[in-house]
Each structure stands twice: as C-alpha cells, then as structure tokens.
Symmetry: C2
Subunit: 313 residues, 2 copies
C-alpha cells in the first residue's frame, strides 16, 4: 500500500504547491445572502446552518480542487451544530476526497487505549474489537494531541500503517499562549523539542519511498525560530503549518518549515482564502462570486510561496 507521505508528495507535485486550505466555515463571515437563504427556509436552526455550510463548502471545493493538493477540515465548526453539523462534516470529507484532494480532518483527538482505537476507527480505518465497519468520518490524515503520551498515539500509528493514512501531532501551535505548556523547560530544553524526539520514535518505520514518515508534526508559522530548530530535529517529518495569512505569518516565516529538498511542509490558510471576497483586493467580485475570490487568493498564495521556495541555485 502506498504510504501517506508518498501520496501527499505526489499530490503536491501534481498541483505544484504545498498548500492546504482550511475549511473552517463561519456563519458570520460567509456570504450573508447564502446564509439568509437557508434561514428563510429552515428558521434559525442547526439544519439551516449546516445546509448553508454544505453549499458554501461544495462551491469552494469545485473552485479550489484543481489548484491545491489538500484541504484541512476543522471539525469544531461542524460539531457546534450537532448531529446535522456532523453530517455535513462527513459530506465535506467525502466530497473533497472524491475530487482527488488529500483530506486532513483537524480533530486534535487524544485519548487512551481503546478510546484512541475508537477515534482511529472514526477517521482512519477499522480498529475496534468486533467492528469491521468503514470509518464514520473517513479522512486521509488527522491531527492528534500528544498529552496522554504513547498510548494515545500508537492506535493512530497502527491505523495509519494499515490504511496508508497519516497523522500530524501537535508540537508547537500557532496561538499566542502556546508557550504556557509547550515552552516549559525540561532539562533546559523546551517541551516542544522533547515532543520532536517522541515523534521520531513513534513514527519510526512508517517512512515512504522518499524518506518521510507518516507521523507528522503541527508547527505554527507564527514561531519561525522554533520552526527552524524543529526542522533540524525532525528532518524526515512532514510539518502541517498553520498561522499563515489571517494569523499574521507570511511566506518568509514559513520558509524555515521546509526541508532542503523543498518538501517537508504543507502550509494552511483558512480565513484569508475562504472569505477572500471580503478583502479589498477581491471585493469587486461581489459576495456571489466568493469561490472565484477564493481561487484568486489561493493562486496569489501559490506565487508568494513559490518566491521563497524557489531554489536559490
């Protein structure tokens, strides 16, 4: 079976960029007319919100699938709307995969033993005793929280290995207070660097033909110095890099996340792409043409990244 990193890198080569678009639907930023249409039909309900999100996502997927290798779907923005929201979450994953995208379910799950097996069954592939059903919410990779240690990671690694899937473990997140826990000094070394050693250990033996493991790391673009250090510590680990665009990081900041071979990182942008129709540069398109604005924003991001990633030969 093709490994996750080989699949991911082939998709990056095909689309010519290491971008992942974050499908984080927010009713307050989505085109107001679209949202109002569903509220008019279904009232102010979870169903109305969920249907509006479904419509928004499918139109974005059509516009973006030809241009990016992957999308990241943040489950919280669906979970907020209960079972109706989770149905649209499942639809979004399925529709994205059907369009040939590598789909990362951004779920940051982390729990012990059988509970982790249940989560692995939910997202990656059948792992529960006595259950041979397909995943409830199938994705190509998920994000994982490492706080409970190896017990919480092994079931995901096993499922990734069996099903050609991947995981990205939180190491240094992009938010302002990520240092509260992640930067605490363990024998003079920040905790996030300790996580790097654990990830190498947990991912051992999951390498694809191009050397990268199926166990990746989440490393925020908002902390470029830390990213540079983590890149040195984890030369064969794929980084999922949030923080680009709306959170403030630019192309120069993500440079350190990439390896010398020009691979090793996928850069996520959510708000700056999804809601591009609200930006000065694209406002003339109008809210109806939000997918075109999103596509234009992706193409601009592609250029920005290409400029800093181009081999200086």
């Amino acid at each position: 079976m093709e490994t996750f990193s080989d699949r991911l890198m082939a998709a990056i080569d095909r689309k010519g960029c290491p971008i992942t678009v974050g499908l984080d639907p927010r009713l307050d930023l989505m085109p107001p007319t679209l949202v109002r249409t569903y509220i008019a039909q279904h009232g102010e309900t979870h169903r109305a919100a969920s249907l509006a999100i479904r419509d928004f996502n499918l139109r974005l997927l059509d516009a973006l699938a030809p241009h990016v290798p992957t999308v990241k779907v943040q489950v919280a923005f669906y979970e907020a709307f209960g079972p109706a929201g989770m149905e649209v979450f499942a639809d979004t994953l399925r529709e994205a995969r059907q369009r040939g995208l590598i789909v990362i379910a951004d779920v940051k799950r982390g729990d012990i033993e059988l509970t982790a097996q249940a989560y692995a069954s939910a997202y990656l592939g059948s792992s529960l005793p006595g259950v041979m059903l397909s995943p409830g919410f199938e994705a190509d990779a998920i994000t994982v929280n490492p706080y409970v240690g190896g017990d919480g990671v092994f079931p995901f690694v096993a499922a990734a290995r069996s099903h050609g899937k991947g995981l990205f473990i939180l190491v240094k997140t992009s938010n302002p207070t990520s240092g509260d826990v992640q930067n605490l000094l363990v024998d003079g070394q920040p905790l996030y660097e300790r996580l790097a050693s654990l990830i190498l250990q947990w991912g051992h033996g999951t390498e694809g033909t191009r050397g990268y493991q199926a166990v990746g790391a989440v490393v925020g673009a908002t902390y470029p110095a830390e990213a540079e250090r983590l890149r040195q510590l984890m030369p064969h680990t794929y980084f999922l890099v949030p923080g680009y665009g709306a959170q403030g990081a630019g192309a120069a900041d993500v440079q350190a996340c990439f390896a010398a071979d020009g691979y090793g990182a996928i850069v996520n942008s959510s708000r700056a792409i999804l809601y591009a129709y609200r930006q000065e540069a694209y406002r003339a398109l109008g809210e109806e043409r939000f997918p075109e604005a999103a596509r234009a924003a992706v193409l601009a991001m592609k250029e920005e990244l290409a400029a800093v990633l181009r081999p200086s030969s």
Copy 2:
C-alpha cells in the same frame, strides 16, 4: 445562576455517592443478543451499531439514574459510527439530563481561539460570533486538553461561567504512558504539577458557594501518590477520577483524591459497571438483565467508596 460545583455537590448529596458511570458502549462487550437484533434488521452498518447502543444506553440510564449523580459519556465510541453515532451521542446526553443526571461529555477537546469557541458552542452554550443557537450536544461539563495553553481554555471558562457549566482539564491521566509528557520535569517539578498552578489561575473567580471552582482536573486513580500531591496543590478543585475498576484502581487508591470535607472528587467506572453482567458475581442474571447487573455493581461500588470515605471521627 447556580454554579457547576454547587449543582454537582447537590447531586452528590442527593444520591449519596460521588460516582460517575462512564457510558462507553462497546459492541464486543454488549449483550450479543441485543447487538444481533439490530444487525438482523439493518445489516452490519453504522445505523445498526448506533441503534444497538441507543437501546443499551437507555436501559442503563433507567436502571442507574436513581443511584448515581452523574454519567460521563465518551464521545469516541459514538464518533466511530459517523453521523448516526453522533445522533445517538446527542440522544444519550439529552436522555441522561432529562433523568436529572449531571452529564459530563468526555471529549478532551483542546484548540485555539475561535475553534475553542466553536467547541464551547457545541457542548456548553452559544459562544460563536453571529450564532445564537443552542449547543449541538448539550452537556453539563466537558473534559479539556490543555496542550495549547490558555487560549484553548478561556472560551470554555467563559461559557462555563455564563451557563453554569463546568470543565475538567487533563492533568495526570490514568494510562500507563501518561508519564511520557505529563511527568517530564520542569525545573525539577513534574509537568502535571505545573498544570495544577495553571488550573488554579484559569479557574479563579468561578467558585461556587462551597468553595470549589468550575474548572476541575482529570486525575487518574492509578497514580495515588501523584493524586495526593495534586490534592494538596489544588484544594478547591474538583477532580474527575478515571481508572477505578477495570483499569485496576480500588477504593483505597481514590481516597487521596478527596478533600478533607469528603468532597472534591467524582470517581468514574465504565466497563466494570456497564458490562457487569459478564462478571462471575452477576452472571446468573443472564445477558437480558444487564441493567440489573449494572445497578448491583454500582451499589457495590457505592459501599466500597463509603467504607474508605467514612469520616474516621
């Protein structure tokens, strides 16, 4: 509005025990006839699994609601079955609350800023900009993972405060490898002790009339020495204590989790209660009478805890 800790303590007083039963449905341990009935009707599908779980849970809730103050519902065992599973998760939370139980959604969510707000909206109360809908999966409290720091906790604290809800933050989990991260030494002090200081800070100002904060801690019964130390560090923090029963800890092990006033902890048991019908002691009841076996196991646990919690006067 009544605070979470006051509500919780009133429920504990009413039922006369600090027990929370973990509703972790596992098809391989549930009564085989019950599971087969739904598979016969719906095939080997997510729907069959979900309906079997719903039936199992409702019968347990009827048997247990008069005897325990709270239930803890582990979402992973529902998420595994996709949207159908999440519908039964929502049903279970609703039915448990309707029976007067304090319901803890064991979701271990942890994410940044707006994402945490979305999770707060999902479980505790409306928190997203532009959205005034009821929670998609309403519970009285949730479990939270602290790895991303304060940004990931504040939205839950704000929601807890506004809606009389609570949270339990992972500190020292019950699993064998919990030390991989949680026991790393920060300036000579284990990381889990550092978490204790953060929790006191995050929970400041959420105290109920009996002194306990709405921000609690998850402290595994399998590490009694650590629990004792954490009890000293967090005298006004409620502990959610997993690890009792099937994971190996007994009544003597949880004693250290309680404060001098006899409160301060709720002890969770899942497998040993839910699947009591499989134990030697209750086997004579037969699989059909699994709710009676579960009730008997709860009453036995109540006695065990009472013996060690009785004031030594």
